[in-house]
């Protein structure tokens, strides 16, 4: 391919039988510089450390991939005509891109590019959500720790905040973890 596809050195699973179609998938991806390997029958668990997976969606529920929070594998659903309940299948596995048979090398690579772009954006959004959730938790924990400090050490509100900030700075940890430690210690001491 004269155009760059971003497939170089990618780790790709071909969750598809090693038949004629499987051959087209593997050879197209290897020609584009990716490391493609068959994984058939479909694995029980969602892949880790795999950049992309082409997954043949058959009718049987066991074969359905479900995206897990921990991995960023780009999922390309491979579809054959005649698959039952296609809409529900696609809705359930929420692929980043689809590839319909008959297979074409051009479509194989474009679906990979699209899927990776979408998967990366999704990963960034999830990371931002996780960070914001952590921030909300910290706010709650710091409030609780502040109340404990004011009661147990007779601090004023400002003093309590200053105490927490200083501990966090000295130990180079987030203020939320200092607060969590104080809450836990207090639980032990008062239970």
């Amino acid at each position: 391919m004269p155009q760059s596809t971003g497939a170089e050195r990618l780790n790709v699973w071909i969750v598809h039988p090693a038949d004629a179609d499987g051959q087209v998938l593997v050879s197209t991806l290897r020609r584009a510089g990716a490391q493609a390997e068959y994984v058939w029958p479909p694995p029980e668990r969602w892949p880790a450390h795999v950049d992309a997976a082409y997954w043949l969606l058959a009718g049987r529920p066991r074969a359905l991939p479900t995206a897990s929070e921990e991995t960023d594998t780009a999922l390309i659903a491979v579809l054959e005509p005649g698959v039952a309940e296609l809409q529900r299948l696609l809705g359930d596995c929420s692929p980043h891109a689809v590839l319909s048979k008959p297979l074409h090398p051009f479509a194989i690579l474009t679906s990979l590019m699209a899927a990776r772009s979408v998967a990366r954006y999704e990963r960034r959004l999830k990371a931002k959500v996780r960070k914001l959730e952590e921030t909300l938790r910290s706010i709650r924990q710091v409030e609780q720790a502040k109340v404990i400090l004011m009661r147990v050490r007779n601090f004023g509100e400002q003093e309590a905040y200053e105490f927490l900030r200083k501990r966090a700075m000295d130990r180079r940890v987030p203020v939320g973890s200092v607060a969590a430690a104080i809450i836990e210690a207090n639980d032990f001491l008062t239970s």
Partner: protein, 379 residues
């Protein structure tokens, strides 16, 4: 679709390209022009030292004319047509919020060298200006200890002043102070509007007038205050945004006696500042002042350049990884980029403007303080 960057690695002496978005025209050009200059000075320093691994660092510069929709349009152009991933720019929160979804979608990195209202996080922004816990809190305490506890809020009418005032109100109330008035004024309002506001302020007799007026309008506010004959010794204006540049615009005698809280003033006495100020004035003119926004725009280029020199590839995720947690000896003192928040550990100072248009530093922290944009640990 995210653009695939094929030209990222060192290819001979092809230049590295970055985006720059500061207004040279429009209502906030008075301060953004200075941020552009700080950016250019840093770029020239990087390039005259040999560039980054032998390659020149070249800015792609657009003037959004103080218009947030133009900020969005040019950011889009930079990310998708000009194929840059790093954007150094924005002053108003409105402009930053316009650019934010674009850098998130295309995995760019916005380097934002301006104080703001906090309560924000993005993996695609590095915030090098002050968060409220790094300027507002200190200013509220300082003023209340010395002048009294009655505040009048005057601000420009957009998200930053309103949110900033919400936070300031919380700080003041926690210390038993009161807000005796609150007024928001269009960014493009004329002198007459400010005269009317100052009349109201005079009637309310607060101890402190907390100003979040930005841009050219700053001059109108302070001039109206001056013309009304109010006294900075007993009812000063106190701001987070009035810098040496706004003071120059309004006139030194008009700015005299009023307070600003900032990480940096031109008069700051650190190892690096004297030579920084000298180089800036040599490049842009003897009567061009430095200010906190210039200084942030300046050091953020150097922080980036150092990261790029190490990794030698214009990759957002790698740049971010290298930049977070890194330290730099900036004109304000040593700063570091905080990996929890993508904000910056900054120094806190309070200055009082003098007759010469420069700030006398009346309070200074012993070291930089951690940013707490969500006020997890501050009240």
């Amino acid at each position: 679709m995210e653009t695939v960057r094929r030209d990222r690695h060192s290819v001979g002496s092809e230049p590295w390209r970055i985006g720059v978005l500061f207004s040279r025209t429009g209502v906030t050009a008075v301060i953004e022009q200075s941020q552009l200059q700080g950016t250019l000075l840093a770029l020239e320093e990087v390039n005259s030292a040999g560039g980054i691994n032998g390659r020149e660092l070249v800015p792609v510069i657009y003037d959004p004319g103080s218009d947030p929709t133009k900020f969005a349009r040019y950011a889009h152009k930079l990310l998708t047509e000009d194929r840059v991933t790093m954007i150094f720019g924005c002053y108003t929160s409105t402009s930053r919020k316009a650019v934010l979804p674009l850098v998130e979608r295309w995995n760019g990195l916005l380097w934002y060298p301006t104080l703001y209202e906090g309560f924000e996080y993005s993996p695609n922004v590095i915030y090098t200006g002050a968060a409220p816990n790094q300027n507002s809190l200190c200013l509220a305490e300082y003023l209340m200890e010395r002048l009294g506890d009655r505040f009048y809020f005057v601000g420009s009418d957009y998200v930053y002043p309103r949110e900033s005032n919400r936070i300031m109100r919380e700080f003041i109330s926690a210390r038993r102070g009161t807000i005796v008035g609150e007024e928001y004024i269009d960014l493009r309002a004329d002198r007459a509007r400010f005269k009317a506001v100052i009349r109201e302020v005079g009637r309310a007799q607060p101890d402190i007038v907390f100003s979040t007026v930005v841009g050219e309008a700053t001059a109108h506010l302070y001039q109206a205050y001056c013309e009304a004959g109010l006294n900075p010794a007993t009812m000063p204006l106190a701001s987070l945004t009035t810098t040496e540049s706004e003071i120059r615009l309004m006139g030194a005698e008009v700015g005299c006696g009023h307070y600003t809280s900032a990480p940096y003033f031109e008069r700051v006495d650190t190892g690096k500042n004297a030579s920084f100020v000298a180089r800036y004035k040599k490049r842009f003119g003897a009567d061009e002042p430095t200010n906190m926004c210039v200084e942030a725009a300046y050091f953020q280029i150097h922080v980036f350049a150092r990261a790029l020199a190490e990794i030698d590839v214009m990759d957002t995720d790698l740049v971010r990884m290298f930049v977070l947690g890194s330290e730099f000896d900036a004109p304000q003192g040593v700063i570091s980029i905080d990996s929890e928040t993508n904000h910056t550990q900054l120094w806190t100072r309070i200055g009082r403007a003098g007759r010469d248009g420069q700030f006398e530093i009346v309070l200074e922290t012993q070291g930089p303080s951690k940013p707490d944009p969500y006020l997890i640990c501050a009240r």
